[in-house]
């Protein structure tokens, strides 16, 4: 495993040369969306400048090239997460992937008496879709609580988990592999195994929106049936996400969106559907975006996901103690870098996250202030909002210092 050379990496990201309010940009908001390396932009431009056509239906050269580029991207993504390409469905974002599962899987497989088990640390994308279909399907939604205080703060309450699982009624278990607010890495494979042991019919869904960009991913090892994630958080473009899963399960699911591409035959009386993954890709797919995501995956693979993770752990080893040493700062979530990702939420006594975010921005430091689309968790942390700094391959130790300096500046600003 090669250590990641941040200075070299940074050169690949044009936006990092930018100034914000006369200061160099310190981008610490990758958990919201990542920046893009030149290679990703080039791959999309090349696609548009040389091969652009609609896929799957054409006999002309561009259509064949476009189809090949699109399907190659599917193959790259499949290899990146060790999945069967037949089970790699391109969606518009992670959110759509969850909706496909809610409408086509949960609403059909679950009913009265069944429990859909989720957690209190989920992103809205992994909460709202289930809530939307629940009234019609009639299953019950339960949430594993998150421990608020003490050494295990920010982790799942496993006793509560075991208790719910012991009912044997958990038919669908959905959990994030990594919290976008407090960074917690959940023991997904272990939890999945326990759910399956209690009910062999249970389906396990994993939110990989934060884990796939930052950790080596092996769908099989995760013991998951489905994994949802987004391209834009892993150096890829906006407009593309992935629903990866077992082809057999996808085969059994009714289609969700209807339209072109997903059909085998259409008559005015009815329709027969195409095979997976196409059954779930209605309409013209995000072709250039798939190409861009393929290039992002190539870029990450060239760095090596082990190296990416090691780089972030090294950053965490700087940032956690540095934050804790600032008076009035409380870091949320796991304290040991080995148990967490590089999304770091914190509170500053007496200061509101919005004010912190605004003042830090004037220092060039981009952090996020708010509920991070995970209101139930943020509420549990005792506030309506947190300030979150999140790191990625292009962030350096110097930027950790810039963060700390900006927090100090913010404090001075309000007490002056």
């Amino acid at each position: 495993m090669d250590a990641l050379d941040v200075e070299t990496v940074r050169k690949d990201f044009p936006i990092l040369e930018r100034q914000v309010h006369g200061r160099p940009l310190v981008y610490l908001d990758s958990a919201a969306t990542s920046q893009k390396p030149q290679a990703v932009l080039d791959a999309m431009d090349r696609y548009y400048e040389q091969s652009n056509a609609n896929v799957h239906r054409g006999v002309h050269a561009l259509a064949e090239e476009a189809t090949e580029a699109y399907e190659n991207a599917r193959g790259k993504v499949a290899r990146f997460i060790r999945a069967d390409p037949r089970g790699v469905v391109f969606t518009k974002n992670a959110t759509e992937a969850f909706n496909v599962l809610a409408y086509s899987l949960a609403a059909n497989r679950l009913g009265d008496g069944d429990i859909l088990l989720s957690t209190q640390m989920e992103h809205h994308a992994n909460l709202v879709p289930w809530q939307l279909v629940q009234p019609r399907a009639g299953f019950e939604i339960r949430y594993i609580p998150v421990i608020a205080l003490g050494p295990d703060a920010g982790t799942l309450d496993l006793d509560a988990f075991d208790e719910i699982v012991a009912t044997g009624r958990v038919k669908l278990f959905t959990v994030t592999a990594m919290s976008n607010v407090v960074g917690t890495i959940n023991p997904v494979a272990d939890l999945a195994a326990r759910v399956r042991a209690a009910n062999s019919e249970a389906v396990v869904v994993v939110d990989g929106a934060q884990s796939v960009p930052h950790l080596p991913t092996d769908l099989l090892a995760l013991e998951a049936d489905f994994l949802c994630f987004s391209g834009h958080k892993m150096l890829g473009p906006t407009g593309i996400g992935v629903l990866a899963g077992k082809p057999e399960l996808l085969d059994d699911m009714p289609p969700f969106l209807g339209g072109g591409e997903m059909i085998a035959n259409v008559t005015l009386e009815g329709t027969t559907f195409n095979e997976v993954p196409y059954k779930f890709e209605a309409g013209t797919p995000p072709i250039a975006e798939a190409v861009g995501l393929g290039a992002a995956v190539d870029y990450l693979s060239a760095l090596g996901m082990e190296s990416v993770r090691a780089h972030e752990v090294a950053l965490l080893e700087h940032v956690l103690p540095a934050l804790n040493s600032v008076e009035g700062v409380t870091v949320h979530g796991p304290t040991d870098p080995s148990g967490r990702g590089a999304a770091v939420s914190f509170a500053v006594e007496g200061l509101h996250p919005h004010d912190i975010g605004t003042i830090m921005d004037r220092e060039g430091v981009a952090v996020r202030a708010g509920h991070h689309c995970a209101k139930p968790l943020v509420r549990l942390l005792g506030s309506a909002a947190t300030t979150r700094a999140s790191f990625y391959v292009y962030n350096s130790v110097d930027e950790v210092q810039a963060l700390i300096d900006a927090i100090e500046a913010t404090k001075r600003f309000f007490v002056r």
């Binding site: 919005h354 004010d355 605004t358 003042i359 708010g370 209101k375 506030s383 309506a384 309000f414």
Partner: protein, 160 residues
């Protein structure tokens, strides 16, 4: 020479933030209590209003207090609002709120003198994401007056 940030966090605003006026979680007696939330930012505000009906034809803001969890802009603006409206006829307070709203949307400055420290929030208009913060207290007041007129005592509002 003032930087935009100075516009946003004028000394007057910081002063209201550090030394809030009429910030309290109770007001006894009161006629209306409203709770307003800005869920996208996470700001929350409770406002209690006592109406002075000495002249039943022209009821006035007898007293108004606020409390809440929010950024400096939202809390300071609520503080400045309480000073500007206390003692005014309800209809007049409503009108003043409208003047504040227009100012925040960059649609001109009316009743500058009546807004008192509220004028200091003009600079916030340059920060679109923060405009909602500055409006929160005023929206709560407007809602409290409406709730009172409807003969009710409690109202909860979530701003989208």
């Amino acid at each position: 020479m003032s930087s935009p940030l100075d516009d946003l966090y004028q000394e007057i605003i910081l002063d209201h933030y550090r030394k809030p006026r009429h910030r309290a979680g109770e007001l006894e007696p009161h006629d209306v209590h409203v709770h307003h939330a800005n869920p996208l930012c996470g700001d929350e505000l409770d406002l209690r209003l006592r109406v002075d009906s000495t002249d039943p034809a022209a009821p006035r803001v007898g007293a108004v207090v606020y409390d809440g969890d929010g950024c400096s802009i939202s809390m300071a603006s609520a503080s400045a609002m309480t000073e500007a409206v206390t003692g005014r006829e309800l209809a007049d307070a409503d009108d003043l709120g409208e003047a504040f709203r227009l100012m925040m949307h960059g649609e001109g400055l009316k009743r500058e003198d009546d807004l008192l420290d509220g004028v200091a929030f003009q600079g916030v208009a340059k920060f679109p994401v923060r405009v909602k913060c500055a409006l929160l207290g005023w929206m709560a007041l407007k809602d409290a007056i409406g709730t009172y007129r409807d003969g009710n005592q409690e109202h909860r509002v979530t701003h989208e």
